[in-house]
């Protein structure tokens, strides 16, 4: 199935009551073509994760809206699946139980379920760990399970929330190539949030740079490098340099501003 077109229109989100509100996002406009891989990079606290929650429908926007294939999104749905930073696997289930969770919820018959689970465990090379318990897995393996758990539902949009931030450098690079692979195979629209500019430059067809609180779109960079990309490609290096420039200007600008109390 082809990935869905996504449109974020004047998207904004405030948290908290009337006193002491924080504005996480303001007026974010973004159009993503079906099947595109877009990375979102920005300093911590710039509302990147909030952006994903809004697309996932786990939170409702304060202003604006999200549209998928031209239809406004309301509430969560299995067509937009999030991969969380700490994988958020269920420790009371084994690997298979985790991967088939969404299929069970959807009432997919047992036979179908088994086949799809096996297929996706093979995709992330964990078929030997089908009955391992979550606590027996390494960090990288957990994220592979989380990817299988997401893709088994054939989502039209995959939302990744700093999924590799807690992994060692080598494992992270390995996982980056796994994700590119799976993205090519599944053709799903992917929004990948990271605070690591290098990761954003390797993975994204476009790189969206968000500003610090409230998060707004500072720049959108087209990534010139061809896939499969590595950190050493000239195009990637250029994308890293440009993103860093924008981020630096951003940080300087915000540190020159007087502290505002909202």
């Amino acid at each position: 199935m082809k990935g869905a077109d996504l449109k974020l229109v004047m998207l904004g989100k405030r948290f908290g009551g009337n006193a002491g509100q924080t504005e996480a996002l303001r007026d974010v406009n973004l159009e993503i073509r079906g099947g595109e891989f877009v990375t979102i990079v920005g300093p911590s606290g710039c509302g990147k994760s909030t952006l994903l929650s809004l697309v996932a429908g786990l939170e409702e926007p304060t202003t604006g809206w999200v549209a998928m294939d031209g239809h406004r999104v309301h509430g969560p749905g299995a067509d937009r699946i999030v991969v969380f930073q700490d994988a958020a696997l269920f420790p009371w289930l084994d690997v298979t139980g985790n991967v088939e969770f969404g299929l069970r919820v959807a009432g997919v018959p047992r036979k179908d379920r088994q086949q799809r689970v096996l297929e996706h465990l093979e995709m992330v090379q964990l078929e030997k760990f089908a009955h391992a318990r979550v606590h027996e897995l390494s960090g990288g393996m957990k994220q592979r399970v989380a990817l299988a758990r997401a893709l088994v539902l054939r989502p039209r949009v995959l939302l990744m929330d700093e999924p590799f931030a807690a992994l060692d450098v080598q494992i992270r690079e390995e996982m980056q190539s796994v994700v590119q692979d799976l993205w090519v195979r599944s053709g799903t629209t992917t929004l990948f949030v990271t605070h690591d500019v290098r990761e954003a430059a390797v993975l994204g067809d476009r790189i969206v740079v968000l500003s610090h609180r409230p998060g707004t779109v500072s720049a959108i960079l087209e990534n010139g490098a061809r896939r499969p990309r590595t950190l050493n490609d000239a195009g990637v290096a250029e994308a890293i340099r440009r993103s860093n420039e924008i981020l630096k200007a951003e940080v300087q600008w915000s540190s020159n501003q007087p502290k505002m109390q909202l």
């Binding site: 996932a56 786990l58 999030v82 958020a88 269920f90 009371w92 969770f101 969404g102 318990r133 606590h135």
Partner: protein, 274 residues
Amino acid sequence: MVEQPAQDAAVKRRRERSLAWEFRHLIPMVAIAISAIAIWELIFRSGVWGFLFPGPSQVARALVDFWNSTRLVRAIVATLRRLAVGFLISLVLGALLAFLMVRFTTFGKGIQPYILGLQIFPSIAWVPLSLIWFGFSETTLLFVTIIGSVFGVSISFADALRTVPPVYLQAARNMGSDGMDLILRVTVPAALPHLISAAKVGWSFAWRSLIGAEIIFATVGLGFLLNASASVPDIAGVMGVMLVILVIGIVVDQLAFTKTQEWASRRRGLRPRR
């Protein structure tokens, strides 16, 4: 095949060792029990309390007499049946209340202090009112058991449900789970180790309330037997029944709760294998 016997012996020795290994955690427990009985016997032999303090052998004889007259068995069956029914009802009601408290946070905040108060409220103090309402009946015993434990159960169930990491609920909602499906598929299994400890707290409340109520008015049951022995007075009998109540408490706790809790925790790698 010269080595065969030696090999067999080695296998046998290993098996024996593993059996001893299996029960080794009971050794300190048994040692403590033996020492306690020995100290008890010593105090008895010193004779400081005279006939007011029977020794282990006299208590054992009293228990054998109870057993032979079937009074003990009937008492245990009656009490455990009341406990099972009362505690089950209390679990169901407590779970409902806990769910409401967690689901509707304002309601939960408002009612929490009162439930805490009722949890602390001595369950025996419910007996006079329940006697007026339900008379000298099984209903009264059940009522006191339930009312004595339901608040403790609901408070600790609510605490258990609140331990569920929000990210599990987010992930599950994201995959299409919702409402009752979400509760059964995620909330309950995620909270399971804590729910078991909560049930454990609840059962101890139920057990105490029931024995207390039985002492006041029952016509069959361990509490009744305790009271009846005291009015004879059959001091060895009193101590024997007390011992039975103690042992039932230990056995239920170890078998029903500690074991299941270990199992639930081990499955998710929270505690190393023993």
